[in-house]
Amino acid sequence: MAKLVISRLLAALSVLFFASLIAFVLLRVSPGDPARQVLGPQASAQAVAELRSEMGLDQSLPQQYVTYVSDLVRGDLGTSWRTRVPVAEELSNRIPATIELAVTAMLLSIALAIPIGVLSAGRRRSIDRISRAGAIIGLGTPPFWLGLVLILVFFTWLGIAPAPFGRLDEGLAPPSEVTGFLLVDSLLAGDFAVFSNALAHLALPAITLALPLAAYLSRIVRRSTIDVYRLDYIRTARAKGAGERRVLFRHALPNALLPVLTLSTLYFGELLAGSLLVEAVFNWPGIGGWVAQSIVAQDFAPVQAVILMGALVYTTLSAMTDVLYGVADPRIRTART
């Protein structure tokens, strides 16, 4: 078991190394000069050269990489050249908004996918046909466009959704910050007006992110439910006189949902990427809009930090999944990883 954990950890570290290298090189080969970008076209060549050396841009690429990694190890993500704010600080300000959105979307999609998947695993072919068609259309829907359609219908036409700007109505004071998640903080403060307003703002972006994921997961739930129902222990449970309801909830579902949970954690990175677009649509003050602006301004540090964070989330989740599978299944523990 320890061997599995260590080998997974080493693999995760090497993936992180390659990801940081890729991100670093990609961002450094850009043709523009960030120092010139910061100082503007009027600045003298000497000022630009001074700033370049201050930024470390006059060093060779390998040197810059070593500096970058050693800063990283000490927890220094660098400073935004555009805003002069440390990246770590800005990241911690913005990340709760993104996480709140992504987690809500994830829970919503699981809540949709399980009943749909189980129903379409049943004997009724018509339900399965409809859910398959729905899943294909759901996968085909561009999330940012879906967000605009929802804004058009629920804000412009029906007028029941709040304006797609941010997490709260303007003029509403956010609750004192404990977790940074507005839903949690407002409940802790007992402020139900803020809670319901935050929920209303969260609803459309969360639905936008959740629907394509729900489409994908529902097919996986269906597949794994069908697979589990073929197994002997289900027949045994039935033979012992368990009702269909008990067979489903007590015997079949817990096993059928295992791959669903794995895949949904693996999908989390994809969800974060999707939230870049959806945040732009709803003017959500998360990391998405920040990254987009930083890219336009050739501000390396935030972009690098977010890429690295994405790689970290991805490798951590996939390593965790592998180890947890090892715990659950002894065959994986001994197999070569």
Binding site: S14, P31, P142, L148, V306
Partner: protein
Amino acid sequence: MSGVTIDPRAAARARGRRGGRARAWWRAAGDAGLRKVLIGLALFVAVALLGPLLWGRDPDQVQLRAALLAPDLSHPFGTDEYGRDVLARFLSGARVSLLLGVSAVLGAAVVGLVLGAVSGFYGGFLDGLLNRFLDGLLAFPALVMGMSLALAMGPGALPAGLAVAITGVPWYARVVRSEVLSLKSRDFVAAQRALGASRRHILTRHIVPSVLGGVSVQASLGVAYAVLAIAGLGFLGLGVQPPTAEWGSMITEGRSYLTSGQWWISIIPGFGILILVSLSVALGEGLRDHLDPYGKARY
């Protein structure tokens, strides 16, 4: 590989496998559901290729007097803020999406196929290194790669397509590698070796054709993913640049008119993406039922 016993039936079985492969493609072609999807895709391609010729309006012609017209007979999809015909832009956008999406996927599939086949077949140190590198790539969603490339090369069609292609490579390499690993230990490969075939011959003539089914499943799903990612980059302003009509950037252009009631500029191009992506997903799912060696057992 010493100690290989020559099995006279192995060669025959290898031939049989080949026949099985052809049969699988044939069966796939006979699948009624899959045929509908193929007809849909053929229609889509026809519209993308012939549409602009038949409709005949210039997608880039600015006519400020005709700006923001609602859909009617002379402009079935309305006009945008510069009075350009949305139908004409929609049709030329179809070409852009199809061309960029398919070429990105082809590039990714070929590179992934080669890398996966080589690393699976020869194994060893190269295999380990390639795998780590490809796993590192896997941590980049296409959108993030597209942003980085847009930053490095300046936004445009080329970095967008490259980003989609590069992030696609590990998916093909993985599919091919795992399949090559299992094929490598099969009897027909041992038989070929016993008959004196070179490794290159075995790889190119016997193993690669066997993995094409899996690759084409992955590629159809890949087109779906590519079209979505390219449209997403266009939406952020990091993809195909204006004034070229591209669906993602058309959606952005119409965004500010959504709340004032001119919905057609943004909403109509989205349907184009929806249709193309859904058809590609359906094609991939349909092909998987027939061509994937693990068939329906896989999710």
